[in-house]
């Protein structure tokens, strides 16, 4: 069964995407660790961390593409799930600091000592164990998405209304996490991490391992997304996207399909956030800002909605452009470019890079294939075998 799903879901484009990501995931850490700093192919550690960040963004973009591209749910609050996953990981990393903090308290993180708290709040229990934190990375965003989606989809909140209330959700979380008495470090967030599973987070080896893990997570997420969208479930999702009422009248429980895919997508976003935090070294409430979530949506739009590969590509391209422009003399113009990107992509490139490429390439491919088929057929006819096939 499993191999069957895999062969069905991995067409040529998908396989090459996986191979490219895997190659990056192996080659970049290798070049960082093995080659000397003087070498042309040496990748400095800061670039490994930066690209690791892009890979996490690509996972987030995939999770958005899964619901927006294939189910028509435009979530403007996916940054919230990303940030919640990040906070779960951040809490684990905070507990690992132990007595090495500024105040040297073996149990309480620095900000709690600073706020004169005398014991750990109950929701911080268990985060000293990695397996528990890893479980929470999936569970917290998943549970929030499940509750939110259960309420929203059951009462048939769709389209723009859904987008706006997801935005309200992330906005409410933003306000909440800014408060000190929420117990998540207020507006400073969680930072000053020391080590993860006993390895120093700053060390080159750890950074390379995290990069490799992020690439692995991207591949796994991609395969899961492909498996979902190419299955029968995926076909129903596309039907929901294109004609929700009609799908419902055909007897499908639309809200269950939506709820499943929304929750799955939130878990993926949580994983992306969890991998993001140790590589960036900080998580703070600004990750909940509604603007971040909308920016993530534009990655998907640029790359190509409903293509998966495009979503990941869009995340790379836009974020690379952001790093490139915001670090140079063009910094004041970055917001102009980002804004123009939003407008131009929606107006002129509604299918995104990959979608446009596909619609340009597809007729040619079909034509070429039919040419090949015709050649083969004429060759076969000469052999006197192909004639019945042509009749079909």
């Amino acid at each position: 069964m499993t191999p069957h799903i895999l062969t069905r879901s991995l067409d040529r484009a998908a396989t090459s995407f996986i191979l490219i990501v895997a190659a990056f995931g192996v080659l970049i850490p290798l070049s960082n660790l093995l080659l000397l700093p003087g070498s042309v192919f040496h990748v400095p550690t800061y670039l490994v961390a930066l690209w690791g960040k892009y890979v996490c963004y690509a996972i987030l973009a995939l999770s958005i593409d899964l619901i927006w591209g294939y189910c028509g749910i435009l979530s403007l609050g996916h940054g919230a799930f990303f940030a919640l996953g990040g906070y779960a990981m951040g809490m684990y990393l905070m507990r690992q600091i132990g007595s090495r903090g500024v105040y040297g308290n073996p149990v309480l993180p620095d900000f709690m000592v600073f706020l004169n708290w005398d014991k750990l709040p109950w929701y911080w229990y268990g985060f000293d164990k990695f397996w528990f934190a890893a479980l929470m990375v999936l569970l917290v965003p998943g549970l929030l998405a499940f509750c939110f989606g259960w309420l929203a989809f059951r009462s048939r909140v769709t389209g723009v209304y859904l987008s706006i209330i997801t935005q309200a959700m992330t906005y409410a979380l933003l306000l909440g996490f800014f408060r000190n008495d929420f117990g998540f470090g207020g507006n400073n967030g969680l930072t000053d991490f020391k080590d993860i599973l006993g390895f120093n987070v700053q060390a080159e080896g750890t950074r390379c391992a995290l990069f490799l893990l992020s690439c692995l997570a991207l591949v796994i997420t991609f395969v899961i997304c492909r498996a979902v969208v190419t299955s029968k479930l995926g076909k129903v999702l596309i039907a929901v996207r294109d004609a929700e009422s009609r799908t419902r009248f055909l007897g499908y429980r639309v809200e269950s399909y939506k709820l499943f895919v929304f929750t799955l997508s939130a878990c993926m976003a949580g994983v992306a956030g969890a991998l993001y935090v140790p590589q960036v070294g900080i998580i703070n409430p600004s990750e909940f800002a509604p603007g971040n979530s909308i920016e993530a949506v534009i990655w998907v739009a640029v790359g190509g909605r409903g293509t998966l590969v495009g979503a990941a590509l869009g995340a790379f391209v836009v974020n690379y452009a952001k790093t490139f422009f915001t670090s140079g003399a063009l910094a004041p113009y970055w917001l102009f470019m980002l804004g123009a990107l939003f407008i131009l992509v929606t107006l002129l490139l509604p299918k995104g890079i990959v979608g446009t490429f596909n619609s340009w390439w597809e007729p040619r491919r079909v034509q070429r294939n039919s040419c090949i088929a015709a050649d083969e057929a004429s060759a076969a006819r000469e052999d006197g075998v192909g004639a019945p096939k042509m009749a079909e």
Binding site: A152, R154, A168, F336, G339, A340, F342
Partner: protein
């Protein structure tokens, strides 16, 4: 070491102070002798001097005391002469009022401490009770009410007999009551009358005063005081409700103003305009530019700056709105999610453009004189700018409603809202209506910006802070219904202000957001949903 030293000095001073309080102060001598005591540089002597100067009836008394209060009184320790540096810089001899050319080098300021400051305040209060300026008399009566200095009773009573102004008379009566309540030799019935007067006043200060009534008072008085306290408390609770309601109305009017333009574009055209907040911002910056022009060229017109800014902001934001509709939104009809993204991009561009032109910091927008200040209504203070904004919002709402109801454009807009295809079949140029509607919605956002510039920081981020709230209002109230927006805005505003004292500002806001999310589950199309076939379109 220094700390220890000053501690010791302070202890010594305290001891001296206590001693002189026990020993009855020296009898009042001539005015000059009293004034000379300021030169002793001793807090207890200074206090005695304050009392003597205040009761001297000398016309210089208030000059000397207010100089002492402001640190403009100086003393020559050798000649024991006291000098007042008047606020215009001229120096006079405090005892005689004669002008002095300049002070010698060893002259030092007369020092005061908090205890003395209170004494000065009380003494000045007694002095100004008889001032010719009604505002000063009122302030003096209020300060006597707070200090209830026993020795001011005769002054208060004589002032009360002379007073003709009704509200000052009231204040004086209350001051007299406060003094009598704490006067040890007043009769019980006088005290009960005093409590009745204070109870009638019924504000926080009256409450504080009654709370000070100690157990050493007769049982009858303490009982009356405690019943007065509880009645004032329930009265105050009611006023705080009224105050919350007023704050809520004020917040609601701001929300309504910000959301009303959105209600039009969203309701009529189904367009999610994320750049709506930036239209508000453009309106606010238009006000800024208008005020700058007026400041530099025609300063006399400053009070009319808002009247000039309102139509200009409408035109600027409206014109930009029409341009946006013609160049971007027109191509995205039927694709609401894409419109959302494109207008979000637009909002980034507009913000950055304003940031480049005007700088990232807050710009100063002034209040015209008729919008600054406040007045008291019962126990609450109402600021004029909030009141004007409430009136302005309701006026804009009424005009808009009338426009939709009675003009040809309004008729066409309603027709397009209700059934776009039918309207088109009847010969309405729907695309023209769309452009004008979008312009109208943006223009109203611009007007909102003029009003919001009066109460909020004018910065490139101004619009961002309103966009989510405005969407909440529109979604809560129901799309395509202006009355829904009105009810939604005021409900959210009032609910927010009533939650704030209970849950705190941020938690209250979070609670409102969560409530709206839950509310949408119950009524996905808002409070006043459109019914009929148009809904599914």
């Amino acid at each position: 070491m220094l700390v220890h030293c000053s501690d010791r000095v302070r202890a010594l001073l305290l001891a001296v102070l206590l001693l002189t309080c026990l020993v009855v102060p020296a009898l009042a001598g001539p005015f000059e002798d009293s004034v000379a005591k300021f030169a002793n540089d001793d807090f207890s002597d200074t206090e005695a001097a304050i009392g003597e100067v205040a009761s001297s009836g000398n016309p210089l008394a208030s000059t000397i005391l207010s100089a002492l209060q402001d640190g403009r009184l100086s003393a020559d320790p050798d000649t024991k002469k006291i000098f007042v540096t008047r606020s215009d810089g001229k120096i006079i001899d405090a005892a005689t009022g004669a002008a002095v050319d300049k002070l010698s080098d060893n002259v030092a300021d007369v020092r005061v401490n908090n205890r003395l400051r209170r004494a000065i305040e009380a003494a000045l209060g007694g002095l100004t009770l008889l001032s010719s300026d009604p505002a000063k008399r009122l302030a003096a009566a209020q300060s006597v009410f707070k200090s209830h200095e026993e020795n001011l009773l005769p002054t208060v009573e004589s002032a009360l007999a002379k007073e003709t102004n009704k509200s000052i008379k009231q204040a004086l009566a209350e001051a007299r009551a406060a003094i009598i309540l704490f006067k040890s030799d007043a009769s019980d019935s006088d005290k009960l009358d005093a409590i009745a007067v204070i109870k009638a006043r019924g504000d926080q200060e009256a409450l504080a005063l009654l709370n000070d009534v100690g157990t050493d008072q007769p049982a009858l008085v303490t009982k009356a005081a405690s019943s007065a306290i509880s009645s004032i408390q329930s009265n105050l609770a009611m006023w705080s409700m009224v105050q919350n309601a007023w704050y809520g109305l004020s917040l609601g009017s701001v929300l309504l103003l910000a959301a009303i333009g959105l209600a039009i574009t969203f309701g009529v055209m189904g367009v999610i305009n994320m750049a709506h907040g930036e239209m508000v911002m453009l309106g606010a910056y238009t006000t800024f530019v208008v005020q700058e022009m007026i400041r530099t060229r025609y300063p006399a017109l400053f009070d009319y700056s808002l009247l000039i800014a309102v139509p200009l902001a409408f035109l600027v934001a409206g014109a930009i709105g029409v341009v946006i509709e013609r160049t971007i939104i027109r191509f995205l009809y039927g694709r609401p999610l894409e419109t959302l993204l494109a207008t979000w991009g637009l909002s980034l561009v507009l913000q950055q453009a304003v940031r480049t032109m005007f700088g990232p910091t807050n710009r100063e927008v002034g209040n015209p004189s008729w919008m600054s200040g406040a007045f008291e209504l019962g126990q609450i203070t109402i600021t004029y700018n909030r009141l004007w904004i409430l009136c302005f919002t309701l006026a804009v709402f009424a005009i808009l409603l009338a426009m939709l109801r009675y003009t040809a454009l309004g008729l066409e807009m309603r027709a397009v809202t209700q059934n776009r295809r039918m309207a088109a079949s009847m010969g309405i140029a729907t695309s023209r209506v769309d452009a004008l509607t979008f312009g109208l919605g943006s223009g109203i956002a611009g007007i909102a910006g003029v009003a919001l510039s009066q109460i909020d920081n004018v910065s490139p981020n101004l619009g961002q802070s309103y966009i989510i709230d405005s969407f909440m209002v529109v979604v809560f109230g129901g799309v395509g219904n202006l009355w829904g927006t009105l009810v939604g805005a005021f409900t959210l505003g009032i609910a927010n202000k009533f939650l704030e004292p209970v849950a705190g500002a941020v938690l209250g806001k979070i609670a409102i957001l969560v409530l709206i999310i839950l509310f949408i589950q119950k009524r996905p199309r808002g409070l006043f949903a459109l019914k009929g076939r148009a809904v599914e379109a």
